[in-house]
Amino acid sequence: MSEPLTPAQRAKKAIEFFEKISAFEVKLYAIGIERRFTDPDELKKFKKFRLKWSFFVDEVQIDIATVLVDELQKLEDPLNEGIESLQNTIDNLQNTVNFLNLLGNVLGVIGQIVDVVI
Protein backbone atom coordinates (compact mmCIF):
# COMPACT_ATOMS: atom_id res chain seq x y z
CA MET A 1 0.00 0.00 0.00
CA SER A 2 1.46 3.35 -1.01
CA GLU A 3 2.03 6.14 1.52
CA PRO A 4 -0.54 8.95 1.65
CA LEU A 5 0.50 12.05 -0.27
CA THR A 6 1.47 15.23 1.53
CA PRO A 7 -0.59 18.34 0.68
CA ALA A 8 2.36 19.63 -1.35
CA GLN A 9 2.53 16.37 -3.34
CA ARG A 10 -1.24 16.49 -3.87
CA ALA A 11 -0.94 20.06 -5.10
CA LYS A 12 1.80 19.00 -7.50
CA LYS A 13 -0.39 16.26 -8.95
CA ALA A 14 -3.34 18.64 -9.11
CA ILE A 15 -1.20 21.09 -11.10
CA GLU A 16 -0.60 18.38 -13.73
CA PHE A 17 -4.38 18.05 -14.04
CA PHE A 18 -4.72 21.84 -14.10
CA GLU A 19 -2.19 22.03 -16.97
CA LYS A 20 -4.23 19.56 -19.02
CA ILE A 21 -7.58 21.28 -18.57
CA SER A 22 -5.95 24.70 -19.14
CA ALA A 23 -4.42 23.57 -22.42
CA PHE A 24 -7.81 22.36 -23.59
CA GLU A 25 -9.45 25.62 -22.49
CA VAL A 26 -7.05 27.55 -24.76
CA LYS A 27 -8.20 25.39 -27.68
CA LEU A 28 -11.84 26.18 -26.92
CA TYR A 29 -11.04 29.86 -27.60
CA ALA A 30 -9.02 29.24 -30.77
CA ILE A 31 -9.34 31.88 -33.47
CA GLY A 32 -12.21 31.09 -35.83
CA ILE A 33 -13.66 28.24 -33.76
CA GLU A 34 -17.12 29.80 -33.51
CA ARG A 35 -17.36 30.02 -37.30
CA ARG A 36 -17.41 26.24 -37.45
CA PHE A 37 -20.85 26.23 -35.83
CA THR A 38 -23.27 27.13 -38.58
CA ASP A 39 -26.34 26.27 -36.53
CA PRO A 40 -27.07 29.11 -33.97
CA ASP A 41 -28.45 26.63 -31.44
CA GLU A 42 -25.30 24.56 -31.64
CA LEU A 43 -23.15 27.69 -31.22
CA LYS A 44 -25.14 28.64 -28.12
CA LYS A 45 -24.69 25.17 -26.73
CA PHE A 46 -20.94 25.39 -27.41
CA LYS A 47 -20.71 28.73 -25.60
CA LYS A 48 -22.57 27.35 -22.58
CA PHE A 49 -20.19 24.39 -22.46
CA ARG A 50 -17.13 26.62 -22.91
CA LEU A 51 -18.26 28.98 -20.15
CA LYS A 52 -18.75 26.06 -17.78
CA TRP A 53 -15.29 24.72 -18.66
CA SER A 54 -13.63 28.08 -17.99
CA PHE A 55 -15.28 28.41 -14.59
CA PHE A 56 -14.28 24.85 -13.76
CA VAL A 57 -10.64 25.67 -14.58
CA ASP A 58 -10.84 28.71 -12.28
CA GLU A 59 -12.25 26.58 -9.47
CA VAL A 60 -9.49 23.98 -9.79
CA GLN A 61 -6.90 26.76 -9.67
CA ILE A 62 -8.50 28.24 -6.55
CA ASP A 63 -8.66 24.82 -4.86
CA ILE A 64 -4.96 24.17 -5.46
CA ALA A 65 -3.98 27.63 -4.24
CA THR A 66 -6.12 27.23 -1.13
CA VAL A 67 -4.19 24.10 -0.14
CA LEU A 68 -0.89 25.87 -0.85
CA VAL A 69 -1.83 28.97 1.12
CA ASP A 70 -2.82 26.74 4.01
CA GLU A 71 0.57 25.03 3.88
CA LEU A 72 2.42 28.35 3.65
CA GLN A 73 0.47 29.64 6.60
CA LYS A 74 1.75 26.75 8.71
CA LEU A 75 5.28 28.01 8.10
CA GLU A 76 4.59 31.47 9.46
CA ASP A 77 5.49 30.51 13.02
CA PRO A 78 8.96 29.18 12.10
CA LEU A 79 9.53 32.27 9.96
CA ASN A 80 8.55 34.58 12.81
CA GLU A 81 10.77 32.66 15.20
CA GLY A 82 13.59 32.85 12.66
CA ILE A 83 13.28 36.62 12.34
CA GLU A 84 13.37 36.97 16.12
CA SER A 85 16.33 34.63 16.48
CA LEU A 86 18.28 36.47 13.79
CA GLN A 87 17.52 39.77 15.48
CA ASN A 88 18.92 38.44 18.75
CA THR A 89 22.01 37.31 16.89
CA ILE A 90 22.47 40.79 15.47
CA ASP A 91 22.16 42.27 18.97
CA ASN A 92 24.75 39.84 20.31
CA LEU A 93 26.93 40.62 17.34
CA GLN A 94 26.77 44.30 18.25
CA ASN A 95 28.28 43.41 21.62
CA THR A 96 31.02 41.61 19.77
CA VAL A 97 31.51 44.62 17.52
CA ASN A 98 31.75 46.93 20.55
CA PHE A 99 34.24 44.59 22.09
CA LEU A 100 36.24 44.42 18.89
CA ASN A 101 36.14 48.19 18.49
CA LEU A 102 37.46 48.56 22.00
CA LEU A 103 40.08 45.96 21.36
CA GLY A 104 40.96 47.69 18.10
CA ASN A 105 41.42 51.00 19.87
CA VAL A 106 43.65 49.44 22.49
CA LEU A 107 45.67 47.64 19.85
CA GLY A 108 45.92 50.90 17.90
CA VAL A 109 47.44 52.60 20.92
CA ILE A 110 49.78 49.68 21.41
CA GLY A 111 50.70 49.96 17.74
CA GLN A 112 51.61 53.59 18.16
CA ILE A 113 53.72 52.76 21.23
CA VAL A 114 55.46 50.02 19.26
CA ASP A 115 56.10 52.48 16.41
CA VAL A 116 57.61 54.95 18.85
CA VAL A 117 59.72 52.35 20.60
CA ILE A 118 61.03 50.86 17.37
Binding site: E3, T6, P7, A8, K12, I15, F18, S22, E25, V26, Y29, A30, I31, G32, K47, K48, R50, L51, S54, F55, V57, D58, Q61, I62, A65, T66, V67, L68, V69, D70, E71, L72, Q73, K74, L75, E76, P78, L79, N80, E81, G82, I83, E84, S85, L86, Q87, N88, T89, I90, D91, N92, L93, Q94, T96, V97, L100, L103, G104, G108, D115
Partner: protein, 301 residues
Protein backbone atom coordinates in the same frame (compact mmCIF):
# COMPACT_ATOMS: atom_id res chain seq x y z
CA UNK B 1 50.99 52.27 9.88
CA UNK B 2 51.87 48.76 8.92
CA UNK B 3 50.83 47.53 12.35
CA UNK B 4 47.53 49.35 12.11
CA UNK B 5 46.79 47.74 8.77
CA UNK B 6 47.55 44.31 10.14
CA UNK B 7 45.39 44.99 13.19
CA UNK B 8 42.56 46.34 11.04
CA UNK B 9 42.67 43.31 8.75
CA UNK B 10 42.73 40.98 11.72
CA UNK B 11 39.65 42.63 13.18
CA UNK B 12 37.72 42.32 9.92
CA UNK B 13 38.63 38.66 9.69
CA UNK B 14 37.63 38.13 13.30
CA UNK B 15 34.24 39.77 12.74
CA UNK B 16 33.59 37.60 9.72
CA UNK B 17 34.62 34.59 11.76
CA UNK B 18 32.09 35.50 14.45
CA UNK B 19 29.31 35.33 11.81
CA UNK B 20 30.05 32.18 9.92
CA UNK B 21 33.24 30.93 11.37
CA UNK B 22 35.19 31.63 8.21
CA UNK B 23 35.47 34.79 6.13
CA UNK B 24 35.46 32.77 2.91
CA UNK B 25 31.69 32.08 3.03
CA UNK B 26 30.57 35.50 4.25
CA UNK B 27 30.28 37.04 0.77
CA UNK B 28 28.30 34.08 -0.64
CA UNK B 29 26.08 34.06 2.41
CA UNK B 30 25.35 37.78 1.98
CA UNK B 31 24.65 37.30 -1.73
CA UNK B 32 22.21 34.50 -1.00
CA UNK B 33 20.36 36.76 1.43
CA UNK B 34 20.27 39.45 -1.29
CA UNK B 35 18.94 36.88 -3.77
CA UNK B 36 16.24 35.98 -1.22
CA UNK B 37 15.00 39.54 -1.17
CA UNK B 38 15.12 39.88 -4.95
CA UNK B 39 13.27 36.57 -5.24
CA UNK B 40 10.49 37.79 -2.93
CA UNK B 41 10.11 40.95 -5.01
CA UNK B 42 9.88 38.89 -8.21
CA UNK B 43 7.28 36.60 -6.62
CA UNK B 44 5.23 39.59 -5.52
CA UNK B 45 5.28 40.96 -9.04
CA UNK B 46 4.09 37.59 -10.34
CA UNK B 47 1.21 37.58 -7.86
CA UNK B 48 -0.06 40.97 -9.02
CA UNK B 49 0.33 39.94 -12.68
CA UNK B 50 -1.60 36.76 -11.93
CA UNK B 51 -4.41 38.74 -10.29
CA UNK B 52 -4.60 41.10 -13.27
CA UNK B 53 -4.86 38.35 -15.89
CA UNK B 54 -7.20 36.17 -13.85
CA UNK B 55 -9.75 38.99 -13.88
CA UNK B 56 -9.05 39.91 -17.52
CA UNK B 57 -9.48 36.34 -18.66
CA UNK B 58 -12.77 36.08 -16.82
CA UNK B 59 -13.87 39.24 -18.64
CA UNK B 60 -12.97 37.56 -21.94
CA UNK B 61 -14.85 34.43 -20.83
CA UNK B 62 -17.96 36.51 -20.21
CA UNK B 63 -17.75 38.46 -23.48
CA UNK B 64 -16.92 35.46 -25.64
CA UNK B 65 -19.74 33.41 -24.14
CA UNK B 66 -22.36 36.13 -23.95
CA UNK B 67 -25.59 34.24 -24.63
CA UNK B 68 -27.72 37.38 -24.76
CA UNK B 69 -30.10 35.79 -22.30
CA UNK B 70 -30.39 38.21 -19.34
CA UNK B 71 -31.08 35.64 -16.63
CA UNK B 72 -28.33 33.27 -17.69
CA UNK B 73 -25.83 36.09 -18.38
CA UNK B 74 -26.49 37.64 -14.99
CA UNK B 75 -25.73 34.33 -13.31
CA UNK B 76 -22.50 34.01 -15.32
CA UNK B 77 -21.42 37.53 -14.42
CA UNK B 78 -22.03 36.92 -10.72
CA UNK B 79 -20.18 33.63 -10.88
CA UNK B 80 -17.17 35.26 -12.56
CA UNK B 81 -17.13 38.05 -9.98
CA UNK B 82 -17.25 35.51 -7.16
CA UNK B 83 -14.29 33.60 -8.64
CA UNK B 84 -12.39 36.88 -9.13
CA UNK B 85 -12.94 37.77 -5.48
CA UNK B 86 -11.76 34.35 -4.28
CA UNK B 87 -8.61 34.48 -6.38
CA UNK B 88 -7.81 38.07 -5.37
CA UNK B 89 -8.21 37.09 -1.74
CA UNK B 90 -5.80 34.16 -2.13
CA UNK B 91 -3.30 36.33 -4.03
CA UNK B 92 -3.49 38.85 -1.19
CA UNK B 93 -2.66 36.14 1.36
CA UNK B 94 0.21 34.78 -0.75
CA UNK B 95 1.65 38.28 -1.16
CA UNK B 96 1.54 38.88 2.58
CA UNK B 97 3.25 35.58 3.24
CA UNK B 98 5.95 36.25 0.65
CA UNK B 99 6.54 39.61 2.27
CA UNK B 100 7.22 37.75 5.50
CA UNK B 101 9.78 35.60 3.71
CA UNK B 102 11.39 38.80 2.41
CA UNK B 103 11.66 40.10 5.98
CA UNK B 104 13.39 36.88 6.98
CA UNK B 105 16.00 37.30 4.27
CA UNK B 106 16.40 40.95 5.21
CA UNK B 107 17.33 39.81 8.70
CA UNK B 108 19.78 37.30 7.26
CA UNK B 109 21.40 40.08 5.27
CA UNK B 110 21.40 42.41 8.29
CA UNK B 111 23.24 39.74 10.17
CA UNK B 112 25.96 39.76 7.57
CA UNK B 113 26.21 43.52 7.20
CA UNK B 114 24.50 45.40 10.02
CA UNK B 115 26.33 47.88 12.17
CA UNK B 116 23.10 49.58 13.23
CA UNK B 117 21.32 46.92 15.28
CA UNK B 118 19.12 49.39 17.11
CA UNK B 119 17.51 50.48 13.85
CA UNK B 120 17.18 46.86 12.80
CA UNK B 121 15.51 46.04 16.09
CA UNK B 122 12.97 48.83 15.70
CA UNK B 123 12.22 47.72 12.15
CA UNK B 124 11.73 44.14 13.34
CA UNK B 125 9.26 45.17 16.02
CA UNK B 126 7.23 46.93 13.36
CA UNK B 127 7.34 43.78 11.22
CA UNK B 128 6.13 41.65 14.14
CA UNK B 129 3.07 43.85 14.61
CA UNK B 130 2.22 43.59 10.92
CA UNK B 131 2.71 39.82 10.92
CA UNK B 132 0.36 39.38 13.89
CA UNK B 133 -2.30 41.34 12.11
CA UNK B 134 -1.89 39.28 8.90
CA UNK B 135 -1.95 35.96 10.80
CA UNK B 136 -5.26 36.88 12.38
CA UNK B 137 -6.85 37.75 9.05
CA UNK B 138 -5.58 34.51 7.46
CA UNK B 139 -7.06 32.43 10.25
CA UNK B 140 -10.42 34.16 9.82
CA UNK B 141 -10.56 33.49 6.08
CA UNK B 142 -13.34 31.05 5.11
CA UNK B 143 -11.16 29.74 2.27
CA UNK B 144 -8.59 28.16 4.58
CA UNK B 145 -9.42 24.54 5.22
CA UNK B 146 -7.97 22.77 8.24
CA UNK B 147 -5.31 20.28 7.09
CA UNK B 148 -3.24 17.83 9.08
CA UNK B 149 0.39 18.84 9.48
CA UNK B 150 2.25 17.10 6.71
CA UNK B 151 5.42 15.08 7.25
CA UNK B 152 8.59 16.62 5.84
CA UNK B 153 9.29 13.46 3.90
CA UNK B 154 10.44 15.09 0.68
CA UNK B 155 13.10 17.26 2.31
CA UNK B 156 16.68 16.17 1.65
CA UNK B 157 19.08 15.79 4.52
CA UNK B 158 20.99 19.06 4.80
CA UNK B 159 24.34 18.80 6.52
CA UNK B 160 25.12 22.17 8.05
CA UNK B 161 28.70 23.23 7.36
CA UNK B 162 30.98 23.25 10.40
CA UNK B 163 32.03 26.75 9.32
CA UNK B 164 28.65 28.10 10.42
CA UNK B 165 28.91 28.65 14.14
CA UNK B 166 27.30 30.32 17.14
CA UNK B 167 23.79 31.74 17.18
CA UNK B 168 23.48 31.54 13.42
CA UNK B 169 24.18 27.81 13.57
CA UNK B 170 21.48 27.37 16.20
CA UNK B 171 19.05 29.37 14.08
CA UNK B 172 19.70 27.39 10.92
CA UNK B 173 19.78 24.05 12.73
CA UNK B 174 16.35 24.65 14.17
CA UNK B 175 14.74 26.11 11.05
CA UNK B 176 16.57 24.86 7.97
CA UNK B 177 13.86 22.30 7.20
CA UNK B 178 11.09 24.87 7.61
CA UNK B 179 12.83 27.31 5.28
CA UNK B 180 13.52 24.57 2.75
CA UNK B 181 9.88 23.51 2.89
CA UNK B 182 8.83 27.12 2.42
CA UNK B 183 10.97 27.34 -0.72
CA UNK B 184 9.57 24.02 -1.93
CA UNK B 185 6.03 25.34 -1.59
CA UNK B 186 6.96 28.58 -3.32
CA UNK B 187 8.29 26.45 -6.16
CA UNK B 188 4.87 24.78 -6.51
CA UNK B 189 3.07 28.12 -6.25
CA UNK B 190 5.10 29.52 -9.13
CA UNK B 191 4.32 26.43 -11.22
CA UNK B 192 0.63 27.09 -10.66
CA UNK B 193 0.98 30.78 -11.53
CA UNK B 194 3.02 30.03 -14.65
CA UNK B 195 0.36 27.61 -15.92
CA UNK B 196 -2.41 30.08 -15.17
CA UNK B 197 -0.60 33.02 -16.79
CA UNK B 198 0.26 30.99 -19.85
CA UNK B 199 -3.33 30.01 -20.59
CA UNK B 200 -4.78 33.41 -19.62
CA UNK B 201 -2.40 35.24 -21.93
CA UNK B 202 -3.09 32.84 -24.78
CA UNK B 203 -6.86 33.11 -24.44
CA UNK B 204 -6.82 36.92 -24.11
CA UNK B 205 -4.43 37.21 -27.04
CA UNK B 206 -6.53 34.91 -29.26
CA UNK B 207 -9.72 36.78 -28.38
CA UNK B 208 -8.19 40.18 -29.14
CA UNK B 209 -6.54 38.95 -32.33
CA UNK B 210 -9.79 37.49 -33.65
CA UNK B 211 -11.66 40.74 -33.04
CA UNK B 212 -8.99 42.85 -34.73
CA UNK B 213 -6.35 41.65 -37.18
CA UNK B 214 -8.08 38.37 -38.03
CA UNK B 215 -11.53 39.84 -38.74
CA UNK B 216 -10.02 42.70 -40.72
CA UNK B 217 -8.07 40.31 -42.88
CA UNK B 218 -10.82 37.82 -43.64
CA UNK B 219 -13.41 40.48 -44.43
CA UNK B 220 -14.31 41.17 -48.07
CA UNK B 221 -12.66 44.59 -47.99
CA UNK B 222 -8.87 45.05 -47.82
CA UNK B 223 -7.14 46.06 -44.58
CA UNK B 224 -7.49 49.84 -44.33
CA UNK B 225 -4.16 50.54 -42.58
CA UNK B 226 -1.66 47.79 -43.47
CA UNK B 227 1.26 49.30 -41.49
CA UNK B 228 -0.73 49.46 -38.27
CA UNK B 229 -2.13 46.00 -39.02
CA UNK B 230 1.42 44.55 -39.29
CA UNK B 231 2.42 46.05 -35.93
CA UNK B 232 -0.78 44.86 -34.25
CA UNK B 233 -0.29 41.34 -35.58
CA UNK B 234 3.36 41.33 -34.52
CA UNK B 235 2.36 42.34 -30.98
CA UNK B 236 0.08 39.31 -30.72
CA UNK B 237 2.81 36.98 -31.92
CA UNK B 238 5.33 38.46 -29.50
CA UNK B 239 3.05 37.58 -26.60
CA UNK B 240 3.90 33.94 -27.35
CA UNK B 241 7.57 34.77 -26.80
CA UNK B 242 6.79 36.27 -23.38
CA UNK B 243 4.90 33.13 -22.43
CA UNK B 244 7.89 31.00 -23.41
CA UNK B 245 10.24 33.32 -21.50
CA UNK B 246 8.12 32.91 -18.38
CA UNK B 247 8.50 29.14 -18.55
CA UNK B 248 12.29 29.55 -18.63
CA UNK B 249 12.37 32.25 -15.96
CA UNK B 250 10.44 30.24 -13.41
CA UNK B 251 13.39 27.83 -13.18
CA UNK B 252 14.90 30.47 -10.87
CA UNK B 253 12.66 29.26 -8.03
CA UNK B 254 14.01 25.71 -8.21
CA UNK B 255 17.58 27.02 -8.32
CA UNK B 256 16.87 29.28 -5.38
CA UNK B 257 15.63 26.31 -3.33
CA UNK B 258 18.64 24.19 -4.29
CA UNK B 259 21.01 27.07 -3.51
CA UNK B 260 19.68 27.23 0.04
CA UNK B 261 21.00 23.73 0.63
CA UNK B 262 24.33 24.63 -1.00
CA UNK B 263 24.71 27.70 1.23
CA UNK B 264 24.20 25.66 4.36
CA UNK B 265 26.61 22.99 3.21
CA UNK B 266 29.23 25.58 2.23
CA UNK B 267 29.05 24.61 -1.45
CA UNK B 268 27.65 27.91 -2.72
CA UNK B 269 30.26 29.76 -4.78
CA UNK B 270 30.32 33.45 -5.74
CA UNK B 271 29.85 32.46 -9.39
CA UNK B 272 26.75 30.48 -8.48
CA UNK B 273 25.46 33.38 -6.37
CA UNK B 274 25.88 35.77 -9.29
CA UNK B 275 24.15 33.34 -11.65
CA UNK B 276 21.24 33.01 -9.23
CA UNK B 277 20.89 36.79 -8.92
CA UNK B 278 20.88 37.06 -12.72
CA UNK B 279 18.15 34.39 -12.99
CA UNK B 280 15.97 36.15 -10.44
CA UNK B 281 16.52 39.46 -12.20
CA UNK B 282 15.41 37.82 -15.46
CA UNK B 283 12.27 36.49 -13.77
CA UNK B 284 11.44 40.01 -12.62
CA UNK B 285 12.04 41.45 -16.11
CA UNK B 286 9.81 38.82 -17.76
CA UNK B 287 7.06 39.41 -15.21
CA UNK B 288 7.16 43.15 -15.85
CA UNK B 289 6.93 42.54 -19.60
CA UNK B 290 3.93 40.28 -19.13
CA UNK B 291 2.19 42.83 -16.93
CA UNK B 292 2.12 45.34 -19.77
CA UNK B 293 1.72 42.85 -22.64
CA UNK B 294 -1.68 44.22 -23.69
CA UNK B 295 -1.27 47.82 -22.64
CA UNK B 296 -0.92 49.06 -26.22
CA UNK B 297 -4.34 49.24 -27.89
CA UNK B 298 -4.59 46.91 -30.86
CA UNK B 299 -5.70 48.24 -34.21
CA UNK B 300 -9.45 48.30 -34.44
CA UNK B 301 -10.04 48.35 -30.68
Amino acid sequence: MKHKKIISLSLTSLMSFSLVGCGATLEEYKKYAEAGQAYSIAMDSLFTTSAQYFVDQNSVTLLANDLQEPASDQESYENASKLDAEWLNLVGLMRQHTNLLKKYFEQLENLATSNTPEQAKQATEKVFNQINSISNSIQQSPLIRPEAISPLSSIPKIILSSKIKGALREELLSRKEAIYRELELQDIVIELLATQLKKDLQIISQYKEERTTYNQFISETPVSNPDAWIIARRNFRITDLSVKALEDATKATTDFKNSFQLVLEDRFSTARANALLAEISYLLTVTKELKTAFDKPSQGE
